[in-house]
Symmetry: C2
Subunit: 202 residues, 2 copies
């Protein structure tokens, strides 16, 4: 005896989602029984809409409903600065801060030869082309501090080394509020290496 | 700047599900972008189907696709034994065991005067009627070992005390494999109270 087929199908759908196990899928599927008709309709429609309406921004690869994403459509931002991120989710992190006023470029992955991901498999050629075409003056690399992230940052900076573009990468170190006892040794090493001089007048 | 409206809508839908916070909802919604067309169609259809096709079994309140659930449709089970559970999910727990061959009755809640839930708000009158009508001989109460569960069990057993129906409730005690150090004192008290004599011949 299992659940009726309809419920069983829905459980399997939820089970497809990342990080949702069998038990959670069961709980989520059963909880939809208590949703009202309208919520269910919206839920089903949103699922289909996301698949049909959402595409990659033709300029920066961010998620977009039309040809360009909301950020690329915004003409008031600083056209000379470009922040390179791994995925669209990372853009949201910066946008929540609200302090960065340049544009973004999503490269959709990181170089990882072991996984067979080479520079041409992610949007690095497109990035370089855009930098030249749009006459970008500053590129900020905001990639994950992992082997793959560092490799990708290094690769991009080498490609741009012969140009006049200023390339920087976001700082890695001890996060604010962290308990020193729990900071891993690699982070601590980086934090020590990138120490900053304190001037008395500040 | 937020996600495109379509994605924002889907995030809100996932956020509606129990135990799914904002961050998880965001992760789940974005993950559906990688689903293929067919999976999305099935997901959306299942959601709507569950709402339209699933109803309560007219006999036992289990989830059913027609008038009767799969268990009530099965004529080969023991018609004299009825197991009383709180919700349809609990039926699945017993069915996974595969050893219980009687029928079930879902009461859809537990008596809780503090929350304004009285015996007539859950399916207790319907349960008593069914027991009489179907000439049930044994009732097994499999409700949660909480104040509400115990109250409900006691209430049902009192209602049946003047009949010839044999009423029992599932045993509460130390679960198998549990570390004695971590068993709470109430469970231990119950386990001590319900101790079982060991006969040497067994």
């Amino acid at each position: 005896m299992r659940y009726p087929t309809t419920i069983q199908n829905l459980i399997e759908c939820f089970n497809h989602l990342p990080g949702i196990g069998e038990k959670t899928a069961e709980r989520l599927a059963l909880s939809t029984l208590n949703f009202d008709e309208e919520t269910i309709q919206i839920f089903a429609k949103s699922l289909k809409d996301v698949k049909t309406k959402i595409q990659k921004c033709s300029r920066c690869n961010n998620l977009a409903e039309g040809d360009l994403c909301e950020i690329c459509k915004d003409d008031s931002r600083d056209k000379k600065v470009l922040c390179v991120v791994e995925n669209p989710k990372n853009i949201m992190l910066f946008e929540k801060l609200g302090t960065f006023r340049g544009y973004y470029h999503v490269i959709d992955g990181l170089i990882s030869p072991l996984d067979g991901i080479n520079p041409e498999d992610i949007h690095i050629p497109q990035l370089i082309e855009r930098i030249k075409k749009e006459k970008i003056e500053e590129v900020i690399l905001a990639l994950k501090p992992s082997v793959e992230g560092e490799t990708t940052s290094l690769y991009i900076s080498k490609l741009l080394s012969k140009t006049n573009v200023l390339v920087s990468k976001i700082a890695h170190g001890v996060p604010l509020g962290a308990d020193m006892d729990y900071v891993d040794s690699l982070t601590l090493e980086l934090a020590l290496e990138n120490r900053k001089k304190i001037s008395a007048d500040e």
